[in-house]
Amino acid sequence: MSGWLSARNLAVIVLLAALVLLPVYVELTGNRFLLTLFTRIIILALAAVSLNLILGYGGMMSFGHAVYLGIGGYAVGMLAHEGIYSGFVQWPLALSASALFALVIGALSLRTRGVYFIMITLAFAQMAYYVVAGLARYGGDDGLTIYKRSQFFEPINLSNKMQFYYICLALLYASIYLVWRIVNSRFGMVIQGSRSNDTRMRAIGFPTFRYKLICFVIAGTLCGLSGALLANHTDFVSPAMMYWTRSGDLIIMVVLGGMGSVIGPVFGAMALLVLEETLSGFTEYWQIILGPLLLLVVLFARGGIDGLLGKVRHA
């Protein structure tokens, strides 16, 4: 590989810089829509990065990851509904609730593997969906409007779109760094070894279940943060946030971007959401194109964008 200044690394640097400079561009051109779009992209990129931790690095194919978007979002939404607007209460709750759910679901699901694991994670996520949809007090199926965003101390004001964008971006970058450190640590080596050959890991002496479970919890918690951000962004939460097809969207982002790197999912989130925007400009039936496009990616470009840019999948 061509070392530091490969095409792919350059693309990454350009992307990261461009995201930082975006609000400046928006101020200059007045294209506020771009800011909204990219805030959403960043928030979902965070969710995708968290999914890649268990999917790309851990080999755990969870089809219920969107549930944490819902848990984090509803933690904010429900508390706001009850008149509790402090982010210092809402966000820790969002994170702990996600962590707890991940702990319980992970403990049950990780006893299975392969196809069973996919279906079980999917089923538990749907369970959460139905439970929340049944809570009439919090809007049920119709969802819940949030009238006031999470409050922190002055001068932080999440209703200021530019500020909110930078807060999300900072959290995304921090999370990327965190995940990068985790996957390269001893813990990360165990996770990667487990993905590669779980039986061998246990034979050489690693009790892999507990490591995978902790990884699962970390991923869920990060995604819960993403959910809290999403709730603030849309000023609205609904059970649809955790419908199982949303989990599919997250998986698409991860695969599209490339599972072999921490940053890959950011590419994927951008690609998917920008593609959605562009295609829906052409036709309202854009998913007819997206569907087969996905198929083609799976069959011919499994390394995702990362792969196309030349990054070989190294563990």
């Binding site: 390269n184 001893r186 080596m189 050959n197 034979a203 009790p207 490591y211």
Partner: protein, 252 residues
């Protein structure tokens, strides 16, 4: 001096098949003990029980003075009993060095360390490199394990077993599938290792067995039919009929 490994009256059935039948072996420290026998004799099942992969139906396994019969796999590995696999089971998408480093890491305490870069930790990489050097693979250390030849996989297998700094190695057909040159290299490596480790060697390659073994046990249908020094075994008529005769016919 008590034996390092003591197996007493081990027995195991799989449904109607008797895999291990009242098997007893005692191996003192420093010995290279070969276990030979025709296919289906239960050699791999024996190793599986010794390493903790399957529990025996009855009998006792003692290692370094403790009863390990019911001890789970990771714990046996922690006590110093390491095994290699007959069928290559490596981390194919990780690098050669990563493979061995994982084996080192398994014995370096818990792995709930989330921050420091594991690939830069000398306490993991140095012993891994040392193990690779012992089997002669260090020039290949940065390649993905999938890029290695079959013979090199067997060497890597051995390096991983060594990385855990074991007192005793359970080797399941390390020569499997190796050509003459690779086999000779493996024999030379094992001869070096003999000086510092106790080894239980399951093998079909008779040249290697007679070149390396201090003692040989012969298994047929899970039961010991003979056990003793190599010359005794070579001259044992029963063994010749049951096994060596076949082998000579095969090797021509």
């Amino acid at each position: 001096m008590p034996d390092l490994l003591q197996v007493e009256n081990l027995a195991k059935r799989f449904g109607g098949i008797v895999a291990t039948d009242d098997l007893s072996i005692a191996i003192p420290e420093g010995q290279l003990h070969a276990v030979i026998g025709p296919n289906g004799a239960g050699k791999t099942t024996l190793i599986a029980q010794l390493s903790g992969q399957y529990p025996p139906d009855s009998g006792r396994i003692g290692f370094a003075g403790s009863d390990i019969t019911a001890l789970p796999m990771p714990a046996r590995s922690a006590l110093g009993l390491a095994r290699s696999f007959q069928i290559t089971s490596l981390f194919l998408d990780l690098s050669v060095l990563d493979n061995v480093a994982l084996a080192v890491q398994a014995h370096a305490g818990h792995s709930f360390h989330f921050w420091r870069h594991a690939r830069r930790q000398r306490e993991l990489r140095d012993p891994a490199r040392a193990a690779l050097a012992r089997v002669g693979l260090n020039v290949r250390e940065n390649l993905p394990a999938s890029a290695l030849s079959h013979g090199e996989h067997r060497q890597l297998e051995l390096a991983m077993a060594l990385a855990s700094k074991p007192r005793m190695l359970l080797l399941d057909e390390p020569m499997a599938g190796l050509g003459p040159e690779e086999s000779a290299r493996m024999v030379a490596t094992l001869r070096e290792l003999k000086k510092e480790l106790t080894i239980l060697l399951v093998e079909h390659d008779m040249e290697a067995v007679f070149a390396l073994a201090d003692r040989i046990t012969v298994l047929v249908y899970g039961r010991v039919i003979a056990s003793g020094k190599p010359e005794e075994i070579r001259n044992n008529a029963q063994v010749r009929d049951a096994y060596l005769g076949e082998q000579e016919a095969v090797h021509g």
